[in-house]
């Protein structure tokens, strides 16, 4: 049944085809202009990841959830499908951004032999992962917000929640500075270099998992 739900959402998202092509072209131009290898994965992953959430708006306009609940499926599958779509869209966005960067940079290097852009694959992968992590964070906050407050209100609530989270993190940073707690930055840097990728992957998985549990709990009790 999840296949049917995915198909429905993908059919709805087909209207974004042209926009997506324009975004890809825009990113290609941006790579040429900035000669940056980190820009495309972040932008494409962000836009594709967030577009996947617009299916909630389509559902809201057509009041489709009420109808879908009359079909042989259940609320758990409905929530699960939204997360599958969001995760796959974000990953595909990241991969698409990386592929685009590799293609554009190689074409540029082929055409401009005097000005070779160094294509550091490690940096490309890490920056893509950073982009994926950022979008995952937004999605992990936004999806439960949408389930709680609806697609329109959920967006506003999400920004408020993100602001609160940023304020808390900023507050912690400020407190550490104020209280003169000695933080060994070198040690943190080494730690991030060694375990950064795994921390990103693990925290992304945990974020999605916790977010899914919250969303399901909200939706299960929703009228």
């Amino acid at each position: 049944m999840i296949k049917g739900l995915l198909k429905k959402d993908l059919c709805n998202l087909a209207t974004y085809k042209t926009s997506l092509i324009i975004i890809i072209l825009f990113c290609g131009i941006a790579i040429i202009g900035t000669e940056s290898i980190t820009i495309a994965p972040a932008i494409i992953c962000g836009i594709v990841g967030m577009i996947s959430l617009s299916t909630f708006s389509y559902d809201e306009i057509s009041k489709s959830n009420k109808y879908i609940l009359t079909l042989p499926t259940d609320r758990k599958e409905l929530v699960k499908e939204k997360y599958i779509l969001a995760i796959v869209a974000t990953l595909l966005g990241g991969i698409l951004g990386m592929v685009l960067t590799i293609i554009v940079v190689n074409i540029m290097n082929y055409l401009r032999l005097e000005n070779i852009i160094s294509l550091d694959y490690k940096s490309l992968v890490i920056s893509t992962m950073g982009g994926i992590f950022a979008i995952s964070f937004l999605q992990a906050v936004q999806i439960p917000s949408i389930y709680k407050w609806g697609a329109e209100k959920g967006r506003i609530q999400m920004f408020i929640l993100v602001l609160i989270i940023v304020a808390i993190l900023g507050g912690i940073y400020f407190l550490i500075n104020k209280t003169n707690i000695n933080v060994d930055m070198e040690m943190i840097k080494n730690f991030i270099n060694k375990f950064g990728v795994w921390i990103l992957i693990t925290s992304t998985i945990i974020m999605y998992f916790v977010s899914y549990k919250i969303s399901y709990k909200i939706y299960k009790n929703k009228e």
Binding site: M1, K8, C11, S62, K66
Partner: protein, 285 residues
């Protein structure tokens, strides 16, 4: 006679509305009309049957608990909701492809034939369909997996009489094809039900007012038109409600023959389901 739906004391409480102990059956081979004014509780009853809303009491569909066997039951139900469908941004062709993944018994040929029969375009977005076309598509979608039970919430509201008639014909044919099938149809357009329903369940303010065979309702109920003197003679238990007109009293009874024999009143008009509903809602006792 086996029942496809059995409702026992179904209750649901909202802030400003309560559905109180709704109990009725939908027997096989029958069309049951659920009537009542807007906000009476028809949709809440349907949502409770379909487990879309959490409610008290028991709902059995095909003899099985609707909560415990939800998916299995829903494989054999076709649902039409007035205000909700898969998505407005799909085409009829895409609906076919999606529904194939929901129903094991989805019959693609039947669906395509129904689209042809209803003159529905396959590549046009649903949002550009007229109300009648949208409803026909919803019905085609609801019956294309050959369900044993159809649950229809306001399937004829907002449609012109020609389309309404076409749709009622579809329901008639659907029931005639297999005697184990049944339809639960909620509507506030009661004239539709006079032609096709076998039973009428009337809900008012979240409570069942009556649950009767349509024939019995149309044959036994009547409106007595009488003077004030005749009205005073009537025993309260022999009528349901009355409305005081400028020159006469109009009194709703559920036993025309009793009124004729007991009071010798002959001016008793035939009633429509709409009249009965209006008397129950607006009349005095």
């Amino acid at each position: 006679m086996d029942n496809n739906i059995e409702l026992q004391n179904v209750s649901k409480k909202y802030k400003d509305f309560e559905l109180k102990n709704i109990s009725f059956n939908v027997p096989q081979g029958c069309i049951v009309g659920l009537i009542g004014e807007n906000g009476a509780g028809k949709t809440t009853t349907i949502k409770s049957i379909l487990n879309i809303t959490k409610s008290g009491g028991t709902v059995k569909i095909f003899g099985k608990d609707s909560k415990k066997n939800e998916k299995e039951i829903k494989e054999e139900i076709g649902v039409v909701l007035d205000d909700s469908f898969l998505s407005e941004y799909l085409t009829a062709k895409q609906v076919n492809s999606i529904m194939k993944d929901f129903f094991k018994t989805w019959n693609e040929n039947k669906y395509i034939n129904l689209l042809k029969q209803f003159n529905l375009p396959t590549d046009k977005l649903i949002k550009d369909f007229s109300s009648g076309m949208k409803m026909k598509l919803k019905i085609a979608t609801a019956i294309s997996h050959n369900p044993k039970l159809l649950i229809l919430d306001e399937p004829t509201s907002g449609l012109d009489p020609v389309v309404r008639n076409e749709i009622l014909d579809i329901f008639r044919k659907y029931i005639e094809e297999d005697e184990t099938r049944s339809i639960l149809l909620s509507t506030h357009i009661t004239t539709d039900l006079e032609h096709i329903s076998d039973y009428i369940v009337f809900i008012e303010k979240g409570k069942i007012i009556f649950n009767l065979p349509t024939n019995e309702l149309l044959e036994n109920y009547g409106i007595i038109k009488c003077s004030k003197e005749d009205f005073i003679r009537l025993d309260k238990k022999d009528y349901i409600t009355y409305q005081k007109g400028k020159y006469q009293y109009e009194v709703l009874t559920n036993d025309k023959s009793l009124i004729r024999s007991k009071y010798n009143i002959t001016t008793i008009d035939k009633t429509s389901i709409e009249d009965i509903m209006l008397f129950y809602i607006k009349g005095e006792k």
